[in-house]
Each structure stands twice: as structure tokens, then as C-alpha cells.
Subunit: 380 residues, 2 copies
């Protein structure tokens, strides 16, 4: 059997709500193990979660994507004597191949203070034999090549030789649920991922315009689902032709084709708000990055969100394309998003950059006028 | 005289609007130099901006904070012969102290194709003499210890030995202007900085509750002003006692003290919307990070932004505290933000986590009732 130590950071700060967050984190850890057929026992001891499993490497590989986890280590249980710690430290150094070309340090902390030797002394006593055996250089500051971690607890010490980074954030779905607009492009999956990181259960909403884009969007949702421990991600697909195109046609009729992108987005958010109400979601997530394309201006954002009452979350609003792209690669959605596709048939030559609520109102009035006329005709 | 090559990335993609962005970037570069008493000539040649100055090191130091700049290099003008390039490359290698312990590569590109030797051949011819002279190892992939950059232009080559990273983003204030709520804490200056990076002219709005916090907020504004090339940052300070506390007092009267944080924030945004209208700003920026504190829940965000028509931008909404803290340190606001201060007198023991628009409406009704009574009393 192997033992994994799970460290969580931010959740530890949550005061009275802490048990709620740690319970959800343990639940998400369990469901991750189960999803990958890894038998394991998950339990809490003071500020730490432990996973006991006979597949520690496989467990580490999957758990490092569970939001709320700051870092993980495979640990060895050691009796509470310096002699035992020294023996394990020497074994770990040998496994690593520690030599005089490397730097290292022993890094102990006592979560139980009844052990009579203080941390710096433990470091000296355990680290010293490693130096004698390998000739490696002690490095106390910064990141040495190798760290021997020692946690002194009440009845045992835990030792580890490596730390695997987790994604941080909060356990899904402790923050609630959101509707995330999902195109086939680079930005929207990254925006959804960032809100997942902050503990949101995401319901992706895609407007299907052509099969290629829809396949890209759904494939990205499958990638995201792999990060969505704690929340079953079920994308909703709506027909762009039914939901939005009749409206865009009318825009062209009244000569307001330049407004297509802005009003298409607005129509999508209006639909998203309906979906949010039906699914008890509390906000709408968009992949806007200010100024990235012509339609993502401050003026247009005001027009797009005019009359929407649910909060619109834009986690990428302050990010550069290079930063967003780097995240997409890390998440695993970049290759799908960058497959070639066809341009939207309604894309204007010169998309609107300076919309205003006043002009919006005029256009909506004019469209209502057309609708009224059509209804009259229907009556004939 | 020294010559600096300025590279901008994202702006180059802006199609028909490109001249607008590059003109603002040149303007911001000029005003940065002027603000630091550095004489310099700024001009554009195809996709590059050049700064000619006799204080290239000082110029680099300040220009590396100008938004829109991806990177900068001090460059040397070289006649268009391999012999001249070799001579400069050897000098640059000697200045760097390049030896057999280092890796390096020559990295040329021809922006003018009339020079008869193609790039890989230039690299070989120039890089070869460096190898012979120093014994350094050629490294073609990844990041070698030293890179010899060569840009072949129509009538000269430009060579450089180092690249200084800029902050990226877009030139201020090409994206427009925003009101940024500014407390004395860690998050709000970072949120403002991120929107500055995306080209916003920021008007900071602070609600003064105690002198310590106000000094912190104003000092952070001064730090941010150092990043705000192109936009004169003028903070607006409003009295918390006048603008918000009478309202909070009434909340306590009706036993709704738990709503203090949520409704205080809502009151601030309402004031911010008035300020935005007066200053022609197009959005309101907040430092919310989802779930970071009890009041930053999805439910509360809906309550806080209920009835606000300007877009609310929350660039930190998907970020962890550790990420925000790292940015604050990089920007230079962290040390100011973490100075001790006093807690808000209205801070409830158990702040509200699950507000709703329905409950909000009831509370506002009740408050209106009190107001009506007071008006009656006034009449007596």
C-alpha cells in the first residue's frame, strides 16, 4: 500500500465554512479515484487529507487535476525516531541518485509538538547523514535539486522526496453553477476552466452553426469534463439557425448588418439567461478579452449586456492572447480549438466597434416594426 | 547615440485599426521618455518602432513598463556585409563573456529579401566565427545562454545580444476609460492594472473610511500611475461616512446587519456608475475573486450588480489568491496593500453568503419605509 499526502491551501482559510469545502474535496478525490478504477481510502487528519491506495502513481496522475488541491506527495510512514528517519532519508537519496553534483535540504515540520527534537535540529540530524553518504551540498534557500520532507505527527513521521503541483483553486461545485458560452474557438474553454478552478459547476452552452465547430466545441467539453471532478458536465447544444439567424436576417433587411456580431452575442446571452433560470445557474461565463477583436470593445460590452440581469463573468477580460493560448495548451483544448473551420456567413466586413445603448434601442424598435408588419400580413 | 528596437505583438494583428494603435504606442513611448527627461527620437519603420537616444539603458528601464510593448532590444546598426556582422557578433560575444561553458545561437531574419544570403546561411556564417573564437556550443532549440539577433533590412542590418520583456497588452487608452474601485487591499490595484494592460485609461475611485486605508489606496494609485503611460491617473476620493454609512446604519436598524458587506459594495457600484456617467467612462472594474471571501459568492454578485447597467469587469474573478499576490508583488503594490489597518466597523460576524434579489427587494422596501417615516417626522 502507498500513502499520498494531499495539501490544500486556500480552503484552509475559509473559517467556519471549512468543513464544507474539505468534505467536498474528499468527495471529489474519491470520485476521481473511482472514475479511474483505483481503489483507495480517503481520510482527513487535522489540516491534511490522506489517500491510501495500492496504485499511488496512477492516483497522483489523476489527482493532480482536482481543483482545490495545491500539491501532493507520495509519503512513507516512519516510526518516530531519528534513526528511522535517517534510514529512510538515505534510501530516498539513493533512489533519487543524489551525488556531490546536487544540492539538497531536509525540510521538517512538527504538526505535533510533543516530539522532543525541534525542526532545525531534525533537519541537521537527518540531513547530516545524507551529506556524509552522498557528498551533496546543503541549500537552505530557494529550490534545491532534492528536498527530503519530514512531517512529524503524533505517532509517526511522514517522509517524502517529491512534490507534485495541483491546480489550486476550490473544489467543484462549492461555488455554485454557471452557464458557459462555448464556441469552437480558443477562448471559451479557457474561460470555463478558470471558473471551474474557482469551484464552479459549469454547464456549457453551444450554438451549433456548422458540424465542424460543434464537434470542436463538444470535444473541448470532453477535455474540460476531465478537469471537472465533482460535477458531471453536460453540454447543451442549441441550433444557431433556429435561435439566432432569423434575427440576423432581419438585421440585414434594415441595413444594420454591421451589428451582426454584437447582436448575435446579445441573443446568445439572452438564451443563456433562459437556460440559467431553467438550470438554477447563477451567472453566465464568456471568453471576452478586452480589445482582442473588433467586437470586444467596452462600448459593445455595454450593448451586449444591456438588460441582462444575471452577472456576466469574463475571467479572460484582462488577459493577452498569448496568456490565454498558453493556458489552452496546458488545459489540453488548444489543438482542438485551432483546427480549421469556416467563417460565420453573417460576419460583416467592418464589424461594429462603437455600439451604444441608444442605437441599440433604435434598431430593436425597427426590428419590432418589421415583426408587427409580418404579423399583420399573417392576418390577411 | 544608441538605438532601441521596440517589438509589439498583438497590435500588429489589428487590421485596419493598426495605425491607430501604433500611433498611440509611439505617443506613449514619447511621453514616457519625456517624463524621465530622456531625449529620444521615436519613429516607425514597417512593423517596428525605433527609439534613438543617448541614454539607451535608462530608456529601456522605463519603456519595459509601457503597455503594448512585447519586448525591447538595444541594437547596433551594421553595414550589410557578412564581414561586418561577424565583427559585431565577436564583440557582443566578448562583452557577454561567452566561453566553452555556454550555449548560443545566431538568429537572423530578413525583413528585406533583396540581401542575397538566406537566413540559415547567415546564421552559419556569423555563428561559425563565434564558435571558433569562444568554443561555445550551438543550441538551436529552446533558450540558449546567449542569442545573437540579426535583422536584415533594406540598407542595414540590426544586431542585438539581449531581449528585455515588455508587459504586452495594448496601449493606454486605446480601449477607452473605466472606473476602478480602489480599496487599500491587495486585489483592487491588481484588477486595475490588468485593465490598464488591456489598454484602459483607469479612473480610481476610493471610498475613504479611515486615513490609513486612504493613504494605502492613494499610494497604490501612485504606483499604478507609473504603469499608466498615455493616461494621467487622477484618483477620486469619496467619503464613506457620507456616501455609505447612513445607509449601513439603517440596515442595522432593521436587523439586516449581515447584509452590510453586500449592500456596501452595491452602494459603491451605484456611486461608481454616477462617476462613470460624469467622466464618460464605459465600465466599472472590481477586484472580486470568486469565493475568496464569504461575500464574493455568485448569489451575492447577482445582488450586488442588480440594477447596474454599466458592464462590471472583474478581471480577477477566475484567479487564486496566490496568483493575485504574485502579480501585486510584480506590479509593486503588495507591500503597500499588506500594511496593517483597522477592520471596518460594520463588518458583520457572519457576513451574508446567499443573498437573493428577492430578499434585496424586501430590504430596500423596508429601508424606503424608514425614509418615508423620517420625512414625515421632518414635517412635524
Amino acid at each position: 500500500m502507498g500513502l499520498i499526502l494531499v495539501r490544500y491551501g486556500e480552503i484552509a482559510l475559509k473559517g467556519k465554512n471549512r468543513p464544507y469545502f474539505t468534505k467536498q474535496l474528499r468527495r471529489n478525490i474519491r470520485s476521481t479515484l473511482k472514475a479511474h478504477d483505483i481503489a483507495g481510502d480517503v481520510h482527513q487528519e487535522s489540516q491534511r487529507i490522506y489517500v491510501e491506495t495500492d496504485q499511488p502513481d496512477a492516483a497522483l496522475e489523476h489527482l493532480k487535476r482536482v481543483f482545490g488541491i495545491v500539491s501532493l506527495s507520495k509519503v512513507i510512514e516512519v516510526p518516530l525516531t531519528i534513526e528511522a528517519m535517517r534510514e529512510v532519508a538515505l534510501q530516498m537519496a539513493a533512489d533519487f541518485g543524489l551525488s556531490e553534483e546536487h544540492t539538497y535540504r531536509a525540510d521538517s515540520r512538527r504538526s505535533d509538538k510533543s516530539f522532543p527534537i525541534i525542526s532545525p535540529e531534525i533537519n541537521r540530524l537527518v540531513g547530516g547523514v545524507v551529506k556524509d553518504a552522498t557528498g551533496a551540498t546543503v541549500q537552505l534557500k530557494g529550490e534545491p535539486d532534492f528536498t527530503i520532507g519530514i512531517e512529524v505527527q503524533k505517532e509517526r513521521a511522514l517522509m517524502y522526496g517529491g512534490i507534485v503541483a495541483g491546480p489550486g483553486g476550490l473544489p467543484i461545485p462549492t461555488a455554485g453553477r454557471v452557464i458557459a458560452l462555448m464556441s469552437g474557438g480558443i477562448d471559451s474553454p479557457v474561460a470555463a476552466w478558470m471558473m471551474m478552478k474557482r469551484g464552479c459547476g459549469v454547464i456549457p452552452l453551444h450554438f451549433s452553426q456548422n458540424p465542424v465547430d460543434t464537434e470542436k466545441a463538444l470535444e473541448n467539453c470532453r477535455v474540460l469534463a476531465g478537469h471537472s471532478q465533482g460535477w458531471r458536465m453536460e453540454p447543451i447544444v442549441m441550433s444557431h439557425a433556429e435561435a439566432i439567424e432569423p434575427f440576423l436576417e432581419k438585421l440585414h433587411q434594415i441595413g444594420a448588418g454591421r451589428w451582426a456580431c454584437v447582436l448575435c452575442k446579445r441573443a446568445m446571452i439572452q438564451k443563456a439567461e433562459e437556460v440559467a433560470a431553467a438550470h438554477h445557474a447563477q451567472a453566465i461565463v464568456m471568453g471576452d478579452s478586452l480589445g482582442q477583436v473588433a467586437s470586444q470593445t467596452l462600448d459593445n460590452m455595454e450593448v451586449i449586456s444591456h438588460g441582462i440581469t444575471k452577472p456576466i463573468l469574463r475571467p479572460l477580460i484582462g488577459m493577452d492572447k498569448t496568456e490565454i493560448t498558453a493556458l489552452a495548451q496546458q488545459i489540453g483544448t488548444f489543438d482542438v480549438s485551432t483546427r480549421t473551420t469556416t467563417d460565420c456567413a453573417y460576419l460583416p466586413d467592418r464589424p461594429l466597434t462603437k455600439g451604444s445603448v441608444e442605437k441599440l434601442t433604435r434598431i430593436l424598435d425597427e426590428l419590432a416594426h418589421i415583426d408587427a408588419k409580418e404579423t399583420e400580413n399573417d392576418g390577411w
